[in-house]
Symmetry: C2
Subunit: 369 residues, 2 copies
């Protein structure tokens, strides 16, 4: 059997089945995929789009495993936004980001045989660590494909969670291809970082908890990268608060989601450059866009400078560490990109994983000004 | 009427009536004190020592005003301590520290006339800001006596809370004397930072919430400065969990509490030098010691280096900003000063107020190594 995973450069057709941000060629007949990839993203016509029921199922699965993160408030933030603002602090989630929810849920959804064979991830960011951690907690073996020159701290953290690490050369090798081969060899489930129904459903539990905790809100603002958190959140908000507006926030340099929403189809952009390193995707996932286009009211952008100011605000006034990507939604509200005068506004802080050296440089504005 | 507030240098008799850390001379007859100071600390024989009932009263008073701060957990911290550790995150309290609890409670306890006349504080640290904030929320005017060269950020924050600021020259003037005169002129209540029964009772609500949230613990570890938080916490723990051990943690350079506990009386030391700037007191308060001596099992110390490592741990692994003083108890547990193998351990993180420049310098270990 020959698989031909294409890179984004080679295959730009956004309607192709998509695995993470790596569109695949047509490949083998779908019947054979189960040996390779659990829940691969099929063609849009047959996408398995999660619903609020799936979010509720996810919530039951992750109960006791994921932290129920606190909702934080600040009079200073309220004054700055001219609104009543509720921050769902997913930077305080296990492994430092909301990603743990989706990863844990996707593993919990596997059948017994798949669990025996383990899971594979090829993200080098928050998803990989979340998956490794979630796998260990469920007694499932995890393999993470990482570039040989990945930061030592990330390698150590992922290994610390008990995952096997397979290194690749980012200049000569294709991580998707390596991951697919690994998954095929082991009959393991490849769990992509966002383009996956169980991942999306898991991420939706954060907004569900937020709404349970604070009651009615008029506006929900969520960071947008590949689109795991925003569509998941939208499922919860649409089901619980039909009148609530839902707005996504992207880095200005990577506004593929905004373009996609306006055009009504997935738009692909060159790899963007921003300090929001969790949102440097070239296009949102197919499952993700299928939800976004029907549920999200608007997608706005913020600059790197606005992210830094927001990060400083969180450290100085709210005493929390939020990584630049995690500041996207808050920057949209606190820096004025989103009009929310007088409203009750829920904001998702998506993560806090930033190395201390970069963090302190940004705090002192030694970079990005 | 002539008041003669002495400085610590002039009057070292720890058994004298004490206002904060400024022992007073005998002064006017007690009957006249109500015009000057509400609840001045009388001689030990007649101290009004708060009880757990006072903590419960305080809890009712601060409900809805103070944040019910979250309890955070971390598998990494558990592994490091060899215990199950619960962090009560008072760095996420309003105004950035537990001080808000005691300040709010002390103001709420004033009678109508005193409230009309306002409150006076002379701390330039967390207490002043907490008092200013708590006063504004209760519609009481606050005056804070601050050194003319106080950091602009502290002046701005205190003024931002609506307090009047009276500057003094720290090299030629006595802030206690100025505060007393102000309080006398206005009939205002002078609320000291820790040596006060209503302040102590208010601080005790943090441990009360912690125990409510996590249930039984074997060991409660609390930072010790002047002794507001530790005795308040001890009142709650002794009442709710009689078998729970209670340990205070001081900076190595300022172990007056440890010496006092061992000697059985308040020991005074020279002004200590440590990055734990919230614990640089020369001796614990009289009300405070009266509780400590009967309830606290031990007081241990940690070094500045251990505080920095702990602060880095919180930023890197738990995504929170904890000031050095706020790290005292955690450092005692995580850096091995306290044996807690296999126990369920509650730890109070007392505050997060540190300027970003100092914070980032410490994160990068550009200081204190």
């Amino acid at each position: 059997m020959v698989l031909q995973p294409g890179s984004c450069k080679r295959r730009r057709d956004a309607t192709l089945p998509c695995l993470g941000k790596f569109p695949l060629g047509p490949g083998p007949p779908r019947a054979q995929w189960r040996f390779l990839v659990v829940n691969p993203a099929p063609a849009p016509a047959s996408l398995r789009i999660p619903t609020f029921d799936d979010v509720q199922t996810a919530r039951a699965r992750i109960a006791g495993a994921a932290h129920r993160t606190p909702v934080l408030t600040s009079r200073t933030a309220d004054a700055q936004a001219g609104a009543t603002v509720f921050f769902k602090a997913e930077n305080l989630q296990r492994a430092g980001a909301f990603k743990f929810r989706g990863a844990y849920n996707a593993i919990a959804a596997l059948d017994a045989r798949s669990r025996q064979n383990g899971v594979v991830a090829f993200s080098s960011g928050n998803h990989a660590q979340a998956l490794a951690y979630a796998a260990r907690l469920q007694g499932v073996s995890a393999t993470v494909v990482m570039p040989r020159d990945a930061p030592e701290i990330k390698v150590a953290a992922t290994r610390g969670y008990g995952a096997e690490i397979v290194f690749y050369d980012r200049y000569t090798e294709d991580r998707a291809e390596i991951s697919l081969r690994l998954a095929a060899d082991r009959g393991a489930a490849l769990i992509p970082p966002y383009d996956h129904p169980d991942v999306i459903a898991g991420q939706g539990t954060a907004a569900l908890e937020l709404i349970e905790d604070v009651g009615e809100i008029d506006l929900l603002v969520v960071p947008l990268g590949g689109g795991g958190l925003l569509p998941g959140s939208a499922l919860s908000a649409r089901a619980l608060l039909p009148a609530c507006s839902i707005v996504g926030v992207e880095p200005e340099a990577g506004n593929d989601g905004q373009q996609s929403l306006r055009k009504g189809e997935v738009v692909q952009i060159p790899v963007p450059k921003s300090i929001a390193d969790g949102a440097l995707v070239t296009h949102v996932g197919n499952h993700n866009f299928a939800i976004l286009k029907d549920t999200v009211d608007d997608i706005v952008t913020v600059t790197d400078g606005q992210l830094v100011e927001t990060m400083r605000f969180f450290a100085e006034r709210m005493k929390i560490v939020v990584e630049p990507t995690g500041c996207l939604a808050a920057a949209g509200v606190l820096q004025g990109a989103i009009a929310c005068g007088g409203k009750r506004v829920g904001i998702l802080l998506s993560g806090g994983n930033i190395d201390l050296k970069t963090f302190s440089a940004l705090l002192e504005r030694r970079a990005f000004r």
